[in-house]
């Protein structure tokens, strides 16, 4: 299978402290749905930022074919930030991003300011922004946090369709069930890679890292 992302032996420390991730390697194939789970502070966001080119790792390197879309875990924006949903999405992808709006049902909030949206709506706009660069790899940090049941389902269907069309999707989530039931392959991260492989075999590593078992629905 054609690889669209290859990361080798990533190690990173913030301002000279202890490594927050160490020797993390992974690769993504076209159209793969990949999940990363791990406890708070285990380095998931750091890993995603390195893959998204936002921070340079201390060691290791990342190779990507095509573009990478990044959806942050959370985002703080000035209270009076005037930009509308339309402005933000077209600022990223130009007119070509209009179809992203339709796919994500964003046209109802098209002319609203980003700051006036609910937490879940903000998340969807951030996903829309990432998609409008037509990425070959989509990185999502906590895509389902703050989403209601309805939108969770909607996003899931959408991500699956996206991967069917060939986009590799990497999602980080605290929702272990969501990851284990939907990803093709998972990583259990706790500074180092504790497990990588099929979700059906991840149970033991999850138990070890989180100190408790998870029953997959």
């Amino acid at each position: 299978m054609e690889k669209v992302l290859r990361a080798e032996k990533l190690t990173h420390t913030y301002s000279g402290g202890d490594p927050v991730i160490e020797d993390v390697s992974l690769s993504l194939s076209r159209g793969e749905l990949y999940g990363v789970v791990g406890p708070n502070g285990s380095g998931k966001t750091t890993l995603l930022k390195i893959l998204g080119g936002i921070i340079k790792p201390l060691k290791g390197h990342v190779e990507i074919r095509g573009k990478v879309g990044y959806v942050p875990q959370q985002i703080f924006v000035e209270e009076h930030f005037p930009a509308t949903v339309k402005e933000l999405i077209t600022a990223v992808g130009g007119r070509a991003s209009y179809d992203v709006l339709a796919q994500l049902h964003l046209h109802t909030i098209w002319d609203k300011r980003f700051v006036d949206l609910s937490g879940g709506q903000k998340k969807i706009v951030l996903i829309g922004m990432a998609l409008s660069i037509k990425p070959s790899v989509l990185l999502l940090d906590e895509p389902t946090a703050e989403l209601d049941v309805h939108f969770r389902k909607h996003i899931l269907v959408f991500l699956k369709e996206l991967s069917r069309q060939g986009t590799a999707v990497l999602m980080v989530s605290h929702d272990i069930n969501f990851i284990l039931t939907n990803a093709d392959r998972v990583m259990v991260l706790c500074r180092k890679v504790e497990f990588e492989g099929s979700p059906t075999k991840a149970g033991e590593a999850v138990k070890r890292v989180f100190g408790m078992g998870v029953t997959v629905e």
Partner: protein
């Protein structure tokens, strides 16, 4: 006021009001105040070394702006602390050099209060040039600027050269703050940036519209200020900033009432 002085005042406040929007959104509102005060240091150095004041102050302030931004954006020191340090050191330098000699006291009060009537063709041409550069910057890099102000991490992930955009904003702001200091003085210069921007942010949605409205607010207040100055003989800087403040309060109240009603 002479025609050159009027035109210069209008152009300088227009440029400031345009740059004010991204500055406020990038949480750099204090940068204007910091830079205008450190401009005083530039005036002092020019006086001390017998250099021509405007070019010296432009270069000095530009360097200070780059220093402030580089220190704070590299995360070494918090932005407001850096600004506070440079702020006061500029003033200290100004008072030390200009406040002491009997001849130079005039320079100090001119720098603090501005010299709105002493405007040369040279100043005007510089102001026009800066306005054109600012327009070019805003029009060409509008999308990049919006995303940079929105979230720097995201902007980086889209492949935007954030340093290039941020430093362009910084350089334009440093230069226009010096021109603003020359017209309305150290104490009021940053008002020309921050007040019209905040006024417009209370009222509209859309980055482009905010910039447009900020310029409109600035044009209206400056023109009103010029007319009032002609009639009363007050200092134009004070009058313009007072007009801006009235607009600001009106838009703040409007915004409050509107959000209560919703």
């Amino acid at each position: 006021m002479s025609e050159v002085a009027v035109l210069n005042l209008i152009i300088v406040s227009l440029t400031s009001s345009i740059l004010g929007v991204p500055l406020v959104l990038k949480r750099l509102s204090l940068l204007g105040a910091g830079l205008s005060h450190s401009a005083l240091g530039g005036v002092a150095i020019a006086y001390l070394m017998g250099l021509s004041p405007l070019p010296t102050t432009l270069i000095y302030t530009l360097l200070m702006g780059i220093l402030i931004y580089t220190l704070s954006s590299r995360g070494k020191v918090s932005g407001d602390a850096v600004i506070a340090v440079l702020f006061t050191s500029g003033v200290a330098l100004g008072i030390l050099v200009l406040g002491d000699h009997s001849h130079s006291e005039a320079h100090l009060s001119e720098a603090i209060l501005g010299e709105p009537f002493k405007v040369s063709w040279y100043d005007l041409i510089l102001s026009i040039f800066l306005l054109l550069l600012t327009l070019l910057f805003i029009l060409r890099l509008r999308n990049h600027l919006t995303l940079l102000c929105f979230n720097e991490d995201l902007a980086v992930s889209y492949g935007i050269r954030v340093d290039m955009v941020a430093y362009s904003l910084l350089i334009l702001s440093s230069l226009s703050i010096v021109l603003a200091v020359k017209v309305v003085g150290v104490l009021l210069a940053s008002a020309l940036f921050v007040i019209p921007a905040m006024t417009s942010l209370f009222l509209v949605s859309g980055f482009g519209r905010a910039v447009l409205l900020s310029s409109a607010v600035s044009l209206i207040c400056t023109s009103a200020g010029v007319i009032i100055t002609e009639r009363t003989g007050f200092q134009p800087g004070g009058v313009v900033v007072f007009a801006l403040l009235l607009m600001f309060m009106a838009s703040f109240l409007f915004n409050q009432v509107r959000s209560r009603l919703q």
